[in-house]
Amino acid sequence: MEKPATPELVLEAGRSSRHYWADLWRYRELLGFLAWRDIKVRYKQTVLGVLWALLQPLVTMGIFSFIFGTLAGMGKGDARYPLVVMAGLLPWQLFSAGLSGSSGSLVANTHLISKIYFPRLIVPLSALAVALLDFLVALGLYGAMALYFGEPVAWRSLLLPGFMLMALLIALGAGLWLTALTVKFRDFRYIVPFLLQVGLFLSPVGFRTDVLPNWRDLLALNPLTGVIEGFRWCLLADAPPLYLPGLGISLTLTAILVITGLWYFRKTERQFADVI
């Protein structure tokens, strides 16, 4: 039987595959399967199961509403303050779940990486897919709350996917850096929880940035500020207009994070199996 000549694949030192992105596409189903595996296994042998995905944002929202809204007096008697907090918590949760998932993903999949070839980018990407699912559950929770508080749906909520994407990209950029670094330096395992703990307070999750006009530009250096403000702008009818210079800074930082993250990941990827 005459077969058409198969193109030759060349493996050489320092030469990354020219077909990397095509390979990534070819392995797209693996991405789905890995995410599906993590979701499926996630709540096995738990009593509460998927309720965990609701419980965590609910409790955090309750605590934040109390601390910032009541104790710090930022709520100014606004009965809808929990909604403001929840609108900020949504993107934060998407980011933090995406980051903690993707930053630990390579080491968690050591057995795959040392035994089989596939574009390694699949691994952190599948972690983001898992975070996205949790986010959708929490978004449903927000919907229920909005109904309860009688919050009208603004046309701006159509732009929400854009800000979701931005939160995912920030998580991806930082996650790529951290997961590639964790392969070599296990120190970064300990940095991530700390980073997320600090980040939760440095991001305007529990408060609105328009109450701190003098700090706005400084806060914008945290790319999540733009995302969180964007979420509130999309979801809350009485949200202040978007602070565009701040959003511009956030977008630029996001782009830098993703591009450098991809660069570092691709640069170190070929040695993962040797050092992991």
Partner: protein, 423 residues
């Protein structure tokens, strides 16, 4: 390049940098190295980082393989076999040289890579298939065939953590066996599973290569399997291809070069690990047909002898051996009766019968004792030897024969007449 060539390897080399003491690099190390580099660049004395050592797992490897060949890769542990497979399957990149591959490569370096214990058999078939590079539609198409091959129909919806190890392996191999790559790379995966299934797997590999014109690369420690299954073999030693040719010739060359392993040890008088106040272990050796060797044909007797010195005193002295197989399973303990010995040199000798050990590596610890129970010297891993097959009792079976020992027992086959009442 020959159009039939599917794998071409030119001057391939792979270097690993070994770090001692710390298994993972920590940030502090890297910062420390950075500081040292900076120091030497600033004109300070160069510092040598003695904790790093290079290791060439492969060097100057050259070969090419044509479509449809079944090639066995053999060699001792650490010869570079697994590294070669890892480079060919794109898990790790070469340090130097070039590899050209034509066609889809699937590698099976471990059985059940990516199996998740919490998922069911059905779910794992899909997951594992995707990990091995199959598309969902392809897996669905072959699903029934995979299940039938693995013989796990009844347990498809049971999480694989409840599977027996045999079922687990069967399922994992079944998925891999139904890949349709042009090049299939297999590492020692058949070292598990029951013999009947091994036979089935080997049959499948042979079928894949002969019937469908695929290329198979196969690493094994089992010389019988390599000789039976492969048309050609590569012998690796210390990272180089030292022999390349018809499988049975390379296999016999490998068995005879293996005879280099010492089979004799002598300990210097200054070695504290073999010396106590009373006793000292001097030397140990293994003999087959009067020759010192570490390689023992399975069907020949082997004699172990060791010499020791009684340094002071007079009293009850004895010794004991602890024998372990390559998995660390304790095979046996044995020792001579105690004797009243005064200063001087003495020898203990013991003979193991032919057809007693299984094939593989065995390690001996030597223990010298006084008053029956007082350990004076305990030399762990004092001497080791490997038992190799000569085909005894195999007939056409090419798989692994399990167990610590492999005695030839007086089996009998006979008719039953009249037929038993319940038949």
């Amino acid at each position: 390049m020959n159009p039939e060539t599917v794998i071409s390897v030119d001057n391939l080399a792979k270097r690993y940098v070994l770090g001692h003491a710390v298994p993972y690099t920590t940030l502090r190390d890297t910062l420390g190295q950075g500081a040292r580099r900076l120091w030497s660049r600033l004109g300070g004395a160069p510092t040598v980082d003695s904790s790093r050592e290079e290791f060439w797992a492969l060097r100057d490897v050259n070969f090419s393989i044509n479509r449809g060949e079944v090639v066995g890769i053999i060699g001792r542990n650490g010869a570079g076999k697994s590294t070669l497979l890892k480079v060919l399957s794109r898990i790790t990149e070469p340090t130097r040289g070039r590899v050209g591959l034509r066609g889809r490569v699937a590698s099976l370096l471990e059985v059940g890579t990516g199996f998740h214990p919490e998922l069911t058999g059905r779910e794992n078939i899909y997951l594992n298939g995707a990990i091995l590079g199959m598309m969902r539609a392809e897996i669905t198409r072959k699903f029934d065939e995979i299940v039938a091959f693995a013989e796990v129909e009844r347990f498809l919806d049971t999480p694989v953590k409840h599977y027996s190890s045999g079922m687990y392996v069967r399922l994992a191999f079944a998925v891999a066996a139904h890949l349709e790559p042009e090049i299939l790379i297999i590492d020692e995966v058949l070292a598990v599973g029951d013999s009947a299934f091994q036979k089935k797997c080997l049959g499948k590999i042979g079928e894949v290569a002969r019937g469908e014109g695929r290329t198979v690369l196969f690493v094994s420690h089992n010389m019988g399997v390599v000789a039976n299954l492969c048309s050609r073999a590569l012998l690796l030693d210390a990272g180089r291809v030292v022999r390349d040719g018809p499988a049975n010739q390379v296999v016999s060359a490998h068995i005879s070069t293996n005879t280099k392993s010492a089979g004799a040890v002598e300990w210097p008088g200054t070695d504290a690990s073999v010396t106590s106040e009373r006793l000292r272990l001097v030397s140990a050796r293994l003999l087959v047909a009067g020759q010192v060797t570490g390689d023992v044909p399975i069907d020949q007797e082997v004699t172990l002898e060791y010499e020791f010195e009684v340094r002071a005193g007079r009293g009850s002295v004895t010794s004991s051996i602890h024998l372990f197989d390559k998995q660390g399973v304790w095979v046996l303990c044995s020792g001579p009766a105690s004797a009243e010995l005064g200063p001087g040199f003495f020898r203990h000798q013991v003979r193991f019968p032919a057809n007693f050990f299984n094939d593989g590596l065995y390690t001996l610890s030597l223990i010298l004792l006084t008053n029956v129970t007082q350990i004076q010297v305990h030399k762990r891993d004092a001497i080791s030897f490997s038992v190799f097959e000569t085909g005894v009792g195999r007939e056409e079976y090419g798989g692994i024969i399990h167990g610590c020992v492999r005695p030839v027992l007086p089996w009998q086959t006979g008719p039953v007449s009249p037929a038993p009442p319940h038949a």
